[in-house]
């Protein structure tokens, strides 16, 4: 089965900043992104958990975005200034997709 090489961008970011990141992603000609919940974690400043939280201010979310490798560099450059200064991690990895949509 023919597959196509893509880049998987995984952005783990504090919830209050989500809309800034997604608005930036929206400005690129990509097919979309998915947001996954993170329920607890540990960072340099100790551990956190969503258990019992009324507000989402202290939690993290994970944005997963499959894009064409040709677009990855520009996206990373646009996201970098947002994530910098906030709590977050951005990783990229190589994946293959089975449908050659307009990623």
């Amino acid at each position: 089965m023919e597959t196509f090489p893509k880049t998987r961008i995984e952005i783990t970011i504090e919830a209050p900043i989500l809309s800034r990141v997604t608005q930036t992603l929206d400005s690129f000609p990509i097919s979309g992104y998915s947001v996954l919940p993170v329920i607890s974690g540990r960072g340099h400043d100790g551990s956190w958990s969503i258990a019992g939280q009324i507000s989402d201010a202290g939690r993290m979310l994970m944005i997963i975005c499959i894009v064409d490798p040709s677009k990855a560099e520009a996206i990373l450059q646009a996201i970098f200034p947002i994530v910098q200064g906030q709590i977050g991690i951005v990783t990229t990895s190589d994946v293959r997709v089975i449908r050659q949509d307009a990623f």
Binding site: E14, P16, I17, D45, G46, S47, W48, S49, I50, A51, G52, Q53, I54, S55, D56, A57, G58, G85, Q86
Partner: protein, 324 residues
């Protein structure tokens, strides 16, 4: 004194203590976050709606407008005092001090719920519009603190308050729920109250207990994580600041002529510190501030202080202060 003991033995305070104890012992007892959100929605709905119905019954009064204005003023001024105290008392960075100041200028809805719960157990009425006052006091402190932080850092680039922040803060879910339910209470008045009465009144004490259990759990875990920030100076601040806020509020309440109950509520609002609306706003506006410090103080120190000692004290003081 008697009031204090009675408060200590109220189910509300004891469920909070249970949560605190469970979290300290690292029990896995927990309230799912969606349940906590439901409880918060319920409390805001009840407080807002009941307040609105009261306003529908009593009409728009001088007191309403005066107290809202007084509340806004307090929310602006308290951060200035808080920032001054913090930079004098502690070694916190100016941005951390500004962030904490914003928390103390704003209010805590569950502290509001707790004082109204205590008042209704004591049979003391309070002005219905205090729900609107609570909503009005939530946000000014944020902008006040941003101005302080800007000055301190000598930063001049960019707008003082980014426009999207203004919208995000003003349309914060808890403010919209509180004010919306308040407006609906005004619009439907007695008729609406009758329709919703069992829902509004019968469930309230039980849901408040569950909510305080949850707050105890969250506060306990927060203290476990944030203990390292609790220098004597900042703990002193977190206990002193409620008194300053309450004192200013008492003064204004007296001038406006609020009832005993209304005075106690206003003092409690001023004495309480936010841990819902403000933390999110600070991540957007002052990302360099360490969120854990403000949260540990506001939720781990000031909230329990107000719940256990503050509220019965403010009620007792209100009795001597309020216009007869």
């Amino acid at each position: 004194m008697d009031l204090a003991i009675q408060n200590l033995l109220s189910p509300m305070v004891l469920f909070f203590a249970l949560g605190l104890a469970a979290a300290s012992a690292r029990s896995d007892l927990n309230v799912p976050d969606s349940v906590a959100k439901l409880l918060a929605l319920y409390l805001l709905m009840v407080i807002g709606f009941k307040g609105g119905v009261q306003v529908a019954l009593n009409g728009l009064t001088f007191g309403l407008i005066a107290t809202i204005l007084a509340g806004i003023a307090l929310s602006f001024i308290i951060p200035v005092i808080a920032y001054g105290l913090l930079t004098k008392m502690s070694k916190l960075s100016s941005v951390d001090a500004a962030s904490i100041a914003a928390h103390y200028g704003s209010i805590s809805a569950v502290t509001f719920a707790a004082v109204t719960g205590s008042l209704s157990l004591l049979g003391l009425p309070y002005e219905g519009y205090m729900a609107a006052v609570a909503a009005a006091m939530e946000t000014p402190a944020i902008f006040s603190a941003l101005i302080i932080a800007r000055r301190a850092d000598g930063m001049q680039q960019g707008p003082l308050i980014p426009p999207h922040l203004l919208r995000e803060v003003a349309l914060n879910g808890s403010i919209v729920m509180l004010l919306g339910a308040f407006a609906i209470g005004i619009a439907t008045g007695e008729r609406g109250y009758t329709a919703l009465k069992p829902f509004l009144t019968d469930l309230f004490p039980g849901f408040l207990c569950l909510f305080l259990l949850d707050m105890g759990l969250v506060a306990g875990r927060g203290l476990g994580q944030g203990r390292k920030y609790l220098s004597p100076a900042v703990v002193g601040f977190a206990v002193l600041m409620p008194f300053i806020g309450a004192a200013l509020a008492a003064l204004l309440a007296r001038m406006i002529g609020l009832s005993v109950g209304g005075t106690a509520v206003f003092m409690t609002l001023a004495a309480s510190a936010s841990y819902i609306a403000v933390p999110a706003a600070m991540r957007l506006a002052l990302p360099q501030a360490n969120p854990a410090i403000a949260l540990t103080l506001s939720l781990g120190v000031t909230f329990p202080f107000n719940l256990i000692i503050g509220i019965p004290l403010y009620i007792a003081l209100a009795k001597t202060i309020a216009a007869p």
